[in-house]
C-alpha cells in the first residue's frame, strides 16, 4: 500500500457490505466519523475494523498533505486502542496505489515454513548444464531469514534513501511503475478467514546464471568477478529485455524522467556515491556496490582482506531484527556462509537453475498441530 492508509476489514465483513478494495466507507465512533478506502485484510477478526494512524495530514508539505484519512478524528481519548463503532459503505470509491496484486501462494513454495522435523542438514545442489561461477577473492552473497522478518519495510526505505531511488507518485504506482529496488512480498495460504501469512523481502537475486545478462543486447548488465550482477546505466538503451527475462521481476525501469530538478532539496539529499539514473534506463539492487567498493578501498589501503561484517548493505543496516545478512561466501566462517549451511536454507525458484546469491531461511512453523501432522 502506498500513498494512503486504509480501513481494514475482514473478508466476511466486506462480503456483508458487498464492498471491494478501494470502496469508500464511513466509520462512526460516537459522535464523530471518518471516511476512507476499504481494504480486505485476510485473517482479520470478523466484526472488527482496523484504522491506521498517521495519515490525513494537512500541513505536511507537498508530499505529505491529503493522503488517506485522519484516524485521530475518531480516536477516543478514554480508550485509544479499542472503541465501539459502526461502518457504512459510501457510493464513491478510489483506486488504491498498491504494488502487489496477487497474494495467494497457490501451492508454490515461494515463502517456506519448516517444522523441526523437516530440517535437513545437507541438501544436494541442483544439477546444472552450466559451469559453476569461477572463484574470486571475495564472493558476495546474502541470506534473508524469513523467521526474523516482520515485514516492517525498513529495508525498502533504507535502500531507497541509500541508492537515490526515485519516488514516482501515486499515479505511477497505480500504473505499476513503483521503483523500489526490493519489495516485501506478502503471501497468504489457506482459508481467507484464517490464513497463514508470510512476508518475503525480494531484492535482486544476483544469479550466477542470470537470465537478464543473457537477454541484454548491449552488455548493459554484466557479472562482476565477485558475483555481483552489475547494472551499467550508461550502456543501457532501455530494451527492457532483462526485466522480461528476470523470473523474480526485481528490475525497475525509468519510464519517465523521475529525477528531481538539480537545484531541489531532494537532489541535495541524494547519496553522492550513487549515480542518479535518467529516463529510459533500467535499475535494480546492486548489493550496495558503492559500499563494497568503499570496503575494498579501505582494505587495500591497509593491505588486509575485507573483514566479515565490514560491508553492510543498506537493507541489512536498517533491518531491526537482523533478518538480512550479507557477506563473503568464500569465507567459510562468515556469518552468511554459516547461514547458507543452515538446515532451513532454501533458494527461491531453485528449479529455474538461476543459482542466485541471495537465498532464504525458511520460517519456523509455530503452530504445534501443523508440525505434528506435517
Amino acid at each position: 500500500m502506498t500513498w494512503s492508509n486504509v480501513i481494514a476489514v475482514s473478508p466476511a465483513l466486506a462480503k456483508r457490505f458487498s464492498a471491494a478494495n478501494g470502496d469508500h466507507v464511513e466509520v462512526t465512533v460516537g459522535a464523530r466519523h471518518v471516511e476512507g478506502p476499504l481494504w480486505i485484510m485476510p485473517g482479520q477478526a470478523d466484526n472488527t475494523v482496523a484504522l491506521y494512524l498517521g495519515y490525513g495530514r494537512t500541513r505536511a508539505g507537498r508530499v505529505g498533505d491529503n493522503l488517506g484519512y485522519d484516524a485521530y478524528r475518531v480516536r477516543p481519548r478514554a480508550e485509544p486502542w479499542l472503541a465501539q463503532g459502526s461502518l457504512r459503505k459510501l457510493e464513491t470509491r478510489e483506486d488504491l496505489a498498491v504494488t502487489q496484486l496477487h497474494h495467494r501462494l497457490d501451492g508454490f513454495d515461494l515463502a517456506r515454513e519448516i517444522s523441526p522435523g523437516q530440517v535437513e542438514r545437507a541438501k544436494p545442489e541442483q544439477a546444472s548444464l552450466y559451469a559453476p561461477w569461477p572463484s574470486s577473492k571475495n564472493a558476495w552473497g546474502m541470506v534473508i531469514d524469513l523467521d526474523s522478518c516482520i515485514g516492517c519495510n525498513a529495508c525498502v526505505t533504507a535502500c531507497t534513501a541509500e541508492n537515490n531511488v526515485p519516488v514516482v507518485g501515486a499515479d505511477q504506482v497505480r500504473a505499476g511503475r513503483e521503483m523500489h529496488w526490493l519489495r516485501i512480498a506478502r503471501y497468504y495460504t489457506g482459508d481467507v478467514a484464517e490464513p497463514r501469512s508470510f512476508f518475503e523481502p525480494v531484492p535482486c537475486m544476483h544469479c550466477e546464471d542470470a537470465p537478464c545478462e543473457m537477454g541484454c543486447p548491449v552488455h548493459a548488465t554484466t557479472h562482476s568477478p565477485e558475483g555481483v550482477n552489475q547494472m551499467v546505466y550508461n550502456r543501457c538503451i532501455g530494451t527492457r529485455t532483462c526485466s522480461s527475462y528476470c523470473p523474480y521481476k526485481v528490475r525497475r525501469f525509468n519510464f519517465y524522467d523521475y529525477r528531481r530538478p538539480a537545484d531541489s532539496s531532494e537532489h541535495a539529499a541524494h547519496n553522492p556515491d550513487v549515480t542518479v539514473r535518467s529516463r529510459g534506463v533500467m535499475e535494480k539492487c546492486t548489493y550496495c556496490t558503492q559500499r563494497i567498493e568503499a570496503a575494498h578501498v579501505a582494505a587495500d589501503k591497509e593491505n588486509r582482506p575485507i573483514r566479515d561484517g565490514e560491508v553492510v548493505t543498506a537493507c541489512q543496516q536498517a533491518c531491526p531484527t537482523k533478518a538480512i545478512v550479507f557477506g563473503d561466501i568464500n569465507d567459510p566462517n562468515s556469518e552468511v556462509s554459516r547461514l547458507k549451511r543452515d538446515g532451513r536454507h532454501y533458494v527461491l525458484l531453485e528449479e529455474l537453475g538461476t543459482r542466485p546469491r541471495t537465498t532464504y531461511l525458511a520460517r519456523w512453523r509455530d503452530d504445534d498441530t501443523e508440525s505434528r501432522s506435517g
Binding site: R177, C236, G238, S244, K249, F253, Y256, G280, M282
Partner: protein
C-alpha cells in the same frame, strides 16, 4: 513484339501491355482520387510523426506499460507487421510453387507490401527503447568504448533476422521488377534505367 501471347487478353499484345505499364508513372489514371487518398495517408503519417516526437521527448511511459508487462504493444506491433510481411512472402512463394503463370501482377503487390511491412516492423525496435538515440549500439561496429553487442541476446538476433528478411525481400522484389524496369528503360530518354534493369539490350524483348 506485337505477337499475341497465351496469357494475355487476345486484344492486347506484349508491347501494348508494356506501353500501358510505363505510362502509369507519367499519367495517373485517376488524379483526384489519388490526391484524396494521399492526403488521408499523409495525415495518418503526420499523426505518426507527432506521436513519435511525443514518445521521444517524454519517454516510453506514455504507453501503458509497467513492470512486469514492459513490452505489450511494442512487441505486438512488431510481430504484427512482420506477420503482414510474411503474408506477402507466403503469397509469392505459393504462387511460384504452384506454377501459376498469372502470378506476376500479384507478386509485385505482395512483395511491395512485404517490404513496407518489414520497414514498419523495423521501426518498433527503435521506438520501444528507453533511449532510442543509442539504438546503433545494437549494431556491431568498432566503438571507441570497446564494447560490442551481446550476441547471445535474442533481441540482437532480432536485428539480424529483420535485416535478413528485408534484404531477401528486396531481392525478390527486384527480381520481379526487372522486366518492368527493362520496359521503362526502352522508353527512357536518359541512361539511368539501364542500371536498374541490369541490361543494356534495347530490343524490347522484355519477357
Amino acid at each position: 513484339m506485337s505477337e499475341p501471347s497465351d496469357i494475355l487478353p487476345t486484344r492486347q499484345s506484349m508491347g501494348g501491355i508494356a506501353e500501358q505499364l510505363t505510362s502509369i508513372p507519367l499519367h495517373f489514371p485517376a488524379d483526384r482520387r489519388w490526391v484524396i487518398a494521399m492526403t488521408v495517408a499523409s495525415a495518418l503519417l503526420l499523426l505518426l510523426m507527432v506521436s513519435v516526437v511525443e514518445l521521444f521527448t517524454r519517454g516510453v511511459g506514455i504507453w501503458g506499460i509497467n513492470i512486469p508487462v514492459n513490452w505489450a504493444f511494442a512487441i505486438h506491433n512488431y510481430v504484427w507487421w512482420l506477420g503482414i510481411g510474411h503474408a506477402g512472402t507466403l503469397i509469392s512463394a505459393l504462387l511460384l510453387l504452384t506454377g501459376s503463370e498469372w502470378r506476376n501482377s500479384l507478386n509485385r503487390f505482395a512483395e511491395t507490401m512485404t517490404l513496407f511491412a518489414v520497414v514498419c516492423a523495423g521501426i518498433y525496435p527503435i521506438l520501444h527503447l528507453g533511449r532510442p538515440w543509442y539504438v546503433y549500439w545494437m549494431f556491431p561496429y568498432p566503438a571507441t568504448m570497446g564494447v560490442w553487442p551481446q550476441f547471445r541476446s535474442p533481441l540482437e538476433w532480432d536485428i539480424w533476422a529483420v535485416l535478413t528478411y528485408l534484404t531477401v525481400s528486396l531481392g525478390f522484389w527486384y527480381t520481379g521488377l526487372i522486366p518492368d524496369l527493362a520496359a521503362a528503360r526502352d522508353r527512357a530518354t536518359r541512361c539511368g534505367w539501364q542500371i536498374f534493369s541490369a541490361s543494356r539490350r534495347s530490343d524490347g524483348a522484355g519477357q
